[in-house]
């Protein structure tokens, strides 16, 4: 009861911030007066009497501390007081505070942004039931681009024959259609799935129902569509009555059966489909039917294992089935071996993305370490300046732990301010990232509790790291000594102190990060200068969706020729052509070539499997691909004339070595074809591939399922794009036509290099700024400490050069040592950088030269002002001041 009573009073005192300080002061006064009087009565001189009274009373500071401890809640009070004191002290040196808070803001902000992305991409699972037990079946070979596993008939075989999976489902994630609803038309993209897709994923609809395996009864038996939350809200005004209505996807009717939950967007992190339809009804939308075609890979396979089956056993089981299928269907099923991965990050790109994000996380952590080192040396310098203040407080009876807590509170204040600022900065950047459409798709980055916690934890860690430097100073201080001598001699120790180590380490980290950013820039430049075998600059691509067209064969070709003619006749067009598929836009796979006279077209008999493009006359010219020998395809090549081909240098070399390629023959698509031209090599699948064989066949002899028109023009791109779209739409009304510039179309290819350059470049820049402030801080501090000494030296006849070298010798040495250490350490970062940058090599001479130059410039920028001050020293005025 007494205890509670007392706690109540103390709490009350604390809240009212009433510590009885006044009362104690009066009591002490009265006490001392009474004691002094008594001493005087005992015969002491008044001054001696007062002194004795004070001596007998004891240490006032300690009594006050005890008194306060009794009066209120000392811990909270001290915290409160330390906080206020720290703010006051920080407010007294606004420049220091600003630099400290800003550098922490940038470092913590960068860390929070990176964590936000890591959190969104890697830590948040897919919005499906138990994502960790979900597997995707992938071909063994490193296959970039589409995530397709196998053909639909093969998928059915896998479903029936495997013994390891509880369920196997398939989907085709590249469906697109024109959605017609209440006379409004809009282009939508979605997913075609097997009936058991939603049941396998374990998702519940937010409105209506999903379709199930039981709804499927053969082709065209399940005209059902599930809407995404986004499409439902934007096109159907979130009307629950939309369920049960009929909509048109291209020309086919589908009944809306349900709406997926807002968080669900399939099994790919970056893809947000608009709709889901059953695969059995896909032909009506796609215009082609993959349900019976074993040669067309259309299904990405996902599944959940039976209880007790390991992924290893499941892989073996699948491969046994694949081997069976290869025996049964030798022409189409190649029996490629399969493996299991976790879906979500574009198949194997997951490894790339993971490597990239972890690499950036490690480097951004280094930035924070550099910022903490910077802050620590700033705090240490301040603590040295405040030795006297601290000594006086210690002499008055303040405990060392109390002083230490005071200094740590200052560090904490700075860190929390920096952390809060960094978090808001990061929130801003993450918000921008959220609205941004990356070439990989849309990334939903949320600032959730985990992000806030990370920011807080980072702030606390920085406070601890940067405040620790002060610990030594407080612990090693001897009040009597510090009060006697000035701060000057105590603050300039002869050897290298912890502050030098901190600055040197910071320089080393900075060098490392600058190296990393230059390596990224070098990789980007290298990529940009990769010979592509075509000239994307100044060319437009127009993709015309001819798939729903009702005509075929000769009529289709006539239509295509009319379109090409229209494009070619556009004012400003210097060249135009058409190609079945533009290089480096994904979806390429080899087509087998057979020697002349082959009758058994088994894959084993193929001599080469080059990329094959169907092109119109004029394509090579429009694309800027150089013809090295012979001729290109022409209007005289028709379905009736002998089959011809243009091959690239690599194909010619692989098949015929040094022999001339012109006039050579091979069989492709069952036709004996003669080589009439040789074109230069290029990049076809991706930028980093080795030289691949390729062949170009006339479009008149090879029907293509898709067609892209390439138009080269010196006119302004957007103007030309509009004219082109208008001209093509005039001939093909009601057809989806997409026009974009060729460089834009290549964006996704350059994206990884671009992302690495931006990320690493930003980190390098941050580190350079930190190093600059650190170096400048130390040089400026050294100079200002020793101005008087410089004055004396100059007065005694020291050459100014000598004075200058004393002023900046130490920071300069640190710069040299730190930069060398950083350069040496960067050797070990190549494996890390290799996961982010194409052909990472930190020993590249231009990179090393760039790093050395950068660090030199940093040094000059940091030292120029302090050095100028040291040189401008005027002995007369300084000595007078002193």
């Amino acid at each position: 009861m007494t205890f509670l009573n007392r706690l109540g009073r103390r709490l009350l005192n604390f809240v009212r911030r009433h510590h009885g300080g006044e009362r104690l002061r009066e009591e002490i006064e009265a006490h001392l007066a009474a004691q002094t009087e008594e001493n005087i009565r005992a015969g002491m001189a008044p001054a001696e009497a007062a002194r004795q009274a004070r001596l007998e009373f004891g240490a006032v500071e300690a009594v006050r501390a005890d008194y306060h401890a009794e009066a209120g809640l000392p811990f909270l009070e001290d915290l409160w007081r330390d906080g206020r004191y720290a703010l006051r002290v920080l407010g007294k040196s606004p420049a220091f505070t600003l630099v400290a808070v800003l550098s922490l803001m940038l470092a913590i902000g960068a860390n929070v942004v990176v964590f936000g992305v890591v959190n969104a991409v890697l830590l948040h699972g897919l919005a499906v039931n138990d994502p960790s037990s979900l597997y995707q079946v992938r071909q063994q070979a490193w296959a970039k681009g589409r995530l397709i596993t196998t053909s639909y008939p093969a998928l059915r075989d896998f479903q029936e024959r495997n013994t390891a999976f509880r369920r196997l489902a398939g989907y085709f994630g590249y469906s697109s259609a024109r959605l017609t609803w209440q006379h409004a038309v809009r282009n939508v993209a979605g997913v075609e799935t097997t009936g058991n897709y939603f049941d396998l994923l374990g998702v519940r609809p937010q409105v209506g129902r999903f379709y199930h395996a039981a709804d499927e009864h053969g082709p065209n038996s399940a005209p059902y569509v599930v809407l995404s939350d986004r499409l439902w809200r934007s096109e159907f005004q979130a009307d629950p009555e939309a369920v049960g209505r009929t909509v048109q996807l291209n020309k086919a009717s589908f009944v809306v059966v349900g709406v997926a939950p807002a968080s669900f967007h399939g099994t790919e992190q970056f893809v947000w489909p608009d709709y889901w339809i059953p695969m059995v009804n896909a032909a009506a939308v796609e215009g082609w039917d993959y349900l019976t075609d074993r040669a067309t890979n259309a299904a990405t396979v996902i599944g959940r294992l039976k209880p007790g089956v390991t992924p290893q056993q499941a892989t073996e089981d699948l491969n046994a089935v694949a081997a069976q299928l290869a025996r049964e269907h030798p022409l189409t099923d190649k029996g490629l071996s399969l493996r299991l991965i976790h879906p979500g990050l574009q198949g194997d790109n997951g490894d790339v993305i993971r490597g990239f994000l972890y690499g950036v996380s490690a480097l951004v952590g280094l930035v924070l370490a550099a910022a903490c080192a910077n802050l620590a040396s700033l705090f240490a310098a301040r603590a040295a300046d405040r030795r006297r203040e601290l000594a006086i407080r210690a002499a008055l009876g303040a405990g060392r732990s109390r002083l230490l807590r005071q200094l740590l509170t200052e560090a904490l204040m700075v860190s929390l301010l920096g952390g809060a600022a960094g978090l808001s900065l990061a929130g801003l950047l993450l918000g921008m990232l959220n609205r941004w459409q990356s070439p990989y798709g849309h990334l939903a980055v949320g600032v959730d509790g985990r992000v806030y916690l990370t920011a807080l934890a980072l702030s606390l860690v920085s406070a601890l790291l940067s405040g620790l430097a002060s610990v030594r100073q407080v612990w090693g201080s001897n009040p009597a000594q510090a009060m006697k001598s000035g701060a000057v001699d105590a603050a300039t120790p002869r050897g290298f102190g912890p502050r030098d180590v901190l600055l040197g380490g910071q320089i080393a980290i900075c060098t490392l990060l600058v190296t990393a950013s230059l390596v990224a820039v070098r990789g980007m430049v290298r990529l940009l200068h990769t010979p592509l075998g075509f000239q994307p600059q100044g060319a437009l691509l127009a993709e015309v969706d001819l798939s729903p067209a009702e005509w075929g064969g000769a009529a289709l070709l006539t239509k295509e020729q009319a379109l090409l003619e229209a494009a070619r006749n556009l004012p400003g067009a210097v060249a135009a052509g058409a190609v079945s598929r533009v290089p480096m836009t994904g979806g390429l796979h080899g087509t087998p070539l057979f020697p002349p006279g082959t009758t058994d077209f088994a894959l084993d008999n193929a001599v080469l499997s080059p990329y094959v493009f169907a092109i119109s006359p004029g394509y090579l010219e429009a694309a800027g691909t150089r013809l090295l020998a012979g001729r290109s395809v022409s209007d005289h090549d028709t379905a009736q004339t002998p089959a011809v081909a243009v091959v690239n240098t690599t194909l010619a070399r692989k098949l015929w070595g040094q022999a001339p390629a012109l006039g050579q023959r091979f069989v492709v698509s069952g036709r004996l074809t003669e080589v009439v031209g040789v074109a230069e090599d290029g990049k076809y699948h991706d930028l980093v591939e080795a030289n691949q064989p390729a062949a170009y066949l006339p479009w008149s002899q090879n029907e293509a399922s898709s067609l892209v028109f390439v138009v080269r023009s010196p006119r302004a791109q957007n103007e030309m794009a509009k004219a082109l779209e208008h001209a093509l739409a005039g001939l093909m009304p009601d057809t989806a036509i997409t026009v974009q510039s060729w460089p834009d179309a290549l964006g996704p290819e350059l994206f990884p290099a671009w992302a690495a350059t931006v990320a690493l470049g930003t980190l390098g820049l941050l580190a350079a700024m930190l190093a600059l402030t650190g170096l400048f801080g130390m040089a400026a501090y050294n100079v200002s400490r020793r101005m008087q000494e410089f004055g004396i030296r100059v007065a005694l006849g020291a050459p100014k050069r000598r004075v200058l070298s004393t002023a900046v010798a130490r920071p300069l040495t640190l710069l040299g040592v730190g930069a060398s250490a950083g350069l040496l350490a960067s050797v070990f970062t190549d494996p890390l950088l290799g996961r982010m940058v194409y052909q990472a090599n930190s020993q590249d001479p231009s990179v090393v030269a760039g790093v050395v130059l950068t660090m030199l410039l940093l040094g000059v920028a940091a030292f120029i002002v302090p050095a100028a001050r040291a040189l401008a020293v005027d002995p007369a005025s300084l000595l007078r001041e002193g």
Binding site: R10, E26, E27, A34, A69, E70
Partner: protein
Amino acid sequence: MKPKQDVQQGTLSLMVLKTLDVLGPLHGYGVARRIEQISGDLLSVNQGTLYPVLLKLEQEGAITSEWGPSENNRRARFYRLTAAGRKLLGAEKRTWEQTAAIIARFLTVKAEDLA
């Protein structure tokens, strides 16, 4: 708080209570002087240490205080024992006596007593 200080403080507060019980209302300096007088030179306590103890006792309700004129007409704070304080003194006194008795028996014990 270290245990050593606790004991000291407890002792000191018992002394304060007893002094106020015997001598009636006193100011801080008076309490300090009386304690010094009674304990002689055996106890070396800084006079200042008394004030936190006085505050603690007041917050516990064992004593009350008010400003008043001292013998030489200075303003001083006078402390007075409350009923609760008197009760507390009694309880503390008994505890202390018990403790002292137990310790005394331990200190005077001989080997043959335990045989």
